[in-house]
């Protein structure tokens, strides 16, 4: 049995933690939170680029490190732990994964080296209105290679260079690559729950759009990208939950009420034990997702959905109960609890909420049982 990170992967993970401890303190996260003009922390983005993390799972022939997805999962957990305010997930889990999944040899050769070098920020532009992403809600349209329509919200859409867009065309619904610096693209930064991760409305009026993958396969490909991203996001969520648990534990040890540490009361102990339980379940489900992703296994849809459901639940529970453990101080701007509370929602919704993922999971189980 070999169901854990290897020694090398653990070393990579601990080096990543040290690196981020030094460069991504809560002050860095707050620097983005408190400055509406800042979409992300540019210094951290540069540092992460120099580590080669953007290309961790990109093959060496395309300028990446060619390590693999397990290594990327290890990095994701550490980025989630420190609430890294950078467009990493949009660029790596969505854009790079979409290219590796569906890109032509030319598209891969053109974009993957730029992603690995930190020269191209990505985004994944799918939804247009409230509610789960379904084909019915997609109005954006490509005719003669020109995209028209509106995508909202698009995480990192305000800083991205290249968007993966789901739109209708003659073949049905397809995926497209759209360079956002070109003509026919208007972007508007949105006010969001978690300002440490920016989002935008992208309005397209005749922007040049290049097909990504087979025509008519847009929804299936978008779903396939979501499964891959869900596993990686689950590691960010587990990292965040773990850190929120540590915060709650530390506070419960130091805060006294009625003459003793609040952490000696069962009401607090059981709350923190429940965070631990949910986080460990989520970690185990995420590991299974990591295995399925790296092995290219047929179980990926089930594994990714389970990882996503479990991790979204764990991070949200950890974030809200850590805040509760802090009492009134937890509700202040100055204490960091709300940063986790915000990020838990951001990560829980960015690739679709738990309700939709639970439905995906049960549909997959039905299919598996029928087979």
């Amino acid at each position: 049995m070999n169901f854990d990170f290897s020694d090398d992967q653990k070393f990579l993970k601990s080096e990543a933690r040290k690196f981020l401890d030094a460069r991504c303190s809560m002050a860095v996260v707050r620097g983005v939170l408190d400055d509406p003009a800042k979409s992300h922390d540019a210094a951290l983005w540069k540092a992460v680029t120099e580590q080669g993390w953007l290309g961790a799972a990109i093959p060496e022939e395309h300028g990446g490190l060619g390590l693999g997805h397990i290594e990327l999962c290890a990095i994701a957990e550490e980025l989630g732990r420190c609430l890294a305010p950078i467009p990493f997930s949009s660029t790596v889990y969505f854009l790079a994964e979409a290219l590796m999944l569906a890109g032509s040899p030319d598209q891969k050769a053109r974009w993957l080296p730029k992603i690995a070098a930190g020269e191209a920020i990505g985004c994944f532009a799918t939804v247009e209105r409230p509610g789960v992403l379904t084909e019915a809600q997609i109005q954006a349209r490509v005719e003669a290679g020109k995209l028209t329509g509106v995508k909202i919200p698009v995480t990192d859409g305000d800083v991205a260079d290249l968007a993966v867009v789901v739109a209708r065309d003659a073949g049905g619904t397809s995926l497209f690559l759209v360079e956002l610096a070109g003509p026919g693209v208007a972007r508007e930064t949105l006010q969001t729950l978690d300002p440490t991760r920016s989002a935008a409305r992208l309005s397209f009026s005749g922007a040049a759009a290049e097909p990504l993958g087979e025509p008519g396969e847009g929804m299936a490909l978008a779903e396939a990208v979501l499964y891959r991203a869900a596993v990686l996001l689950a590691f960010e969520q587990v990292g965040g939950a773990d850190r929120a648990l540590e915060m709650g534990r530390d506070y419960a040890l130091g805060r006294y009420a009625f003459g003793r540490p609040i952490g000696s009361y069962q009401a607090i102990k059981h709350k923190l034990a429940d965070i631990y339980i949910k986080t460990e379940l989520a970690r185990s489900n995420a590991y299974y997702g990591a295995w399925a992703l790296s092995a290219g296994a047929a179980e990926l849809p089930v594994a990714a959905a389970a990882a996503r459901v479990s991790a979204s639940e764990a991070f949200w529970f950890a974030a809200k109960e850590n805040l509760q453990t802090h009492g009134g101080m937890g509700f202040t701007w100055d204490v960091d609890c709300h940063l986790f509370y915000r990020r838990a929602q951001q990560l829980g919704l960015v690739a679709g909420g738990a309700k939709a993922w639970k439905e995906r999971l049960v549909s997959q189980l039905e299919r598996r049982n029928a087979a």
Binding site: M1, N2, R249, R260, K269, L281, W357, L361, E366
Partner: protein
């Protein structure tokens, strides 16, 4: 990251599987799996002896004491392979998992020589005599008295929740030797002969209808001082060895799970159409699935640590606290799905042979046995997260002066 055996593990697994294929008893249909049936008990003993002869009983124990002299990962792999066969019931688990390891850790040489090998071979069965009517979660509140009488001790009192007491040969007894000392300091550990005069075993009729546990009464039971395990007053420290093994030994649920709910939901109608189309139920099934799978992969992480020769991390402590409630929640939801039919527990009539009715009536026991949900959360909070113990009003008071309530 994968699920594959290392070459060494694969070799051991192949060897174990071949041995099991050659030696595992074929189900006869005559065994009812109730250990009160002598045919059943004989089959269990014979199987244990055969495993011991081949080094597959107590795999991690030293060979000199009848064990296999192997590693923990070997024990895990053999257990997995053995589970593929319909082997006889195992009445030895408590003795070999908890009592005898306590003798091995804290007992004297003569006791080890006398007890370890026969237990490993299934010749002698042990039970654990810790819990009492007034000492459940608070095991150290045991009141069963052991009073010194020259070279003997005289035992009076009552134990409860004793699995297998009625077929056990020996018991590991936690008794109060000094009521004037604080609670944890006045306890001493002994072994006793369960067939001695002065020991009376009465079965407990459980809410599930079964009787897996007993009450054990001691009336002027006379034992030798040589039956003491560890020093006088050191019983609590000795008991920690046993309890640590207990929490590892009591595993997850088994029985009816999310697959069965999914199957049931496919066969049942609601006012709004087939139950399986019910969005609320689908969400619940997803929640149960991720908990059950999360536990499964947590066990894989534990096995990985063993496989790498490491000590498993604290994540192994979450098993029972999750699985017991999961079992209860799924059972209650499945009965609701069956609607009015849900009250029928007759296995010939109830859906899925009454599996969920059985689960509903067993789940409360699982949430309590071997540490309640609440005690397990305390343990996670204190041992894993490092939070302080609750304030103990009884810690430095003489045991006899601690308030007892009713």
């Amino acid at each position: 990251m994968d699920f594959n055996d290392t070459p060494e593990e694969a070799a051991y697994r192949a060897e174990a599987r071949a041995w099991l294929q050659a030696h595992a008893p074929r189900p006869t249909g005559k065994i009812d799996n109730g250990l009160d049936d002598p045919v059943s008990m004989d089959a269990s003993r014979a199987w244990q002896r055969e495993k011991a002869d081949a080094g597959y009983a107590c795999i991690t124990w030293p060979k000199q004491w009848g064990g296999g002299g192997g590693a923990a990962w070997q024990s895990v792999i053999f257990g997995q392979e053995e589970a593929r066969f319909e082997t006889p019931a195992n009445p030895f688990a408590i003795g070999l998992g908890m009592c005898v390891p306590t003798v091995m850790t804290a007992g004297n040489e003569a006791d080890k020589e006398r007890f370890v090998r026969p237990a490993a071979r299934g010749e002698e069965i042990w039970c654990q005599l810790f819990s009492e009517p007034a000492a459940g979660s608070d095991v150290a509140a045991a009141r069963t008295r052991a009073v010194r009488d020259s070279e003997d001790w005289v035992i009076n009192g009552q134990k409860v929740w004793t699995s297998g007491a009625h077929y056990s040969d020996f018991g590991l007894l936690l008794a109060r030797t000094d009521p004037d000392a604080p609670k944890h300091k006045g306890l001493t550990m002994f072994w006793i002969d369960m067939k001695a005069p002065g020991v009376e075993v009465r079965p407990i009729h459980q809410m599930s209808g079964a009787s897996n546990f007993n009450e054990v009464y001691f009336t002027d039971l006379r034992i030798k001082d040589s039956q003491r395990i560890g020093e006088v007053g050191e019983g609590w420290r000795v008991s920690l060895v046993t309890l640590m093994n207990e929490r590892l030994a009591i595993g997850g649920g088994g029985g009816a799970g999310h697959r069965q709910v999914l199957k049931l939901a496919g066969e049942i109608a609601t006012l709004a159409g087939p139950a399986i189309r019910d969005a609320g139920l689908r969400e619940k099934i997803a929640d149960w699935y991720v908990q059950a799978e999360g536990l499964k992969y947590t066990r894989y992480r534990t096995m990985t640590a063993l496989s790498r020769g490491q000590t498993p991390g604290p994540e192994s402590s979450i098993g029972k606290v999750v699985s017991a409630t999961l079992m209860q929640d799924m059972a209650a939801a499945a009965l609701e799905l069956e609607d009015q039919f849900g009250i029928i527990s007759d296995p010939r009539l109830a859906p899925l042979g009454g599996a969920f009715q059985t689960a509903l009536m067993s789940a409360p026991g699982l949430r309590i046995a071997g540490g309640t949900d609440e005690i397990l959360r305390n343990i996670i909070a204190e041992r894993v997260l490092g939070l302080p113990q609750d304030v103990r009003l009884d810690k430095s008071v003489a045991f006899k002066d601690i308030p007892t309530g009713r």
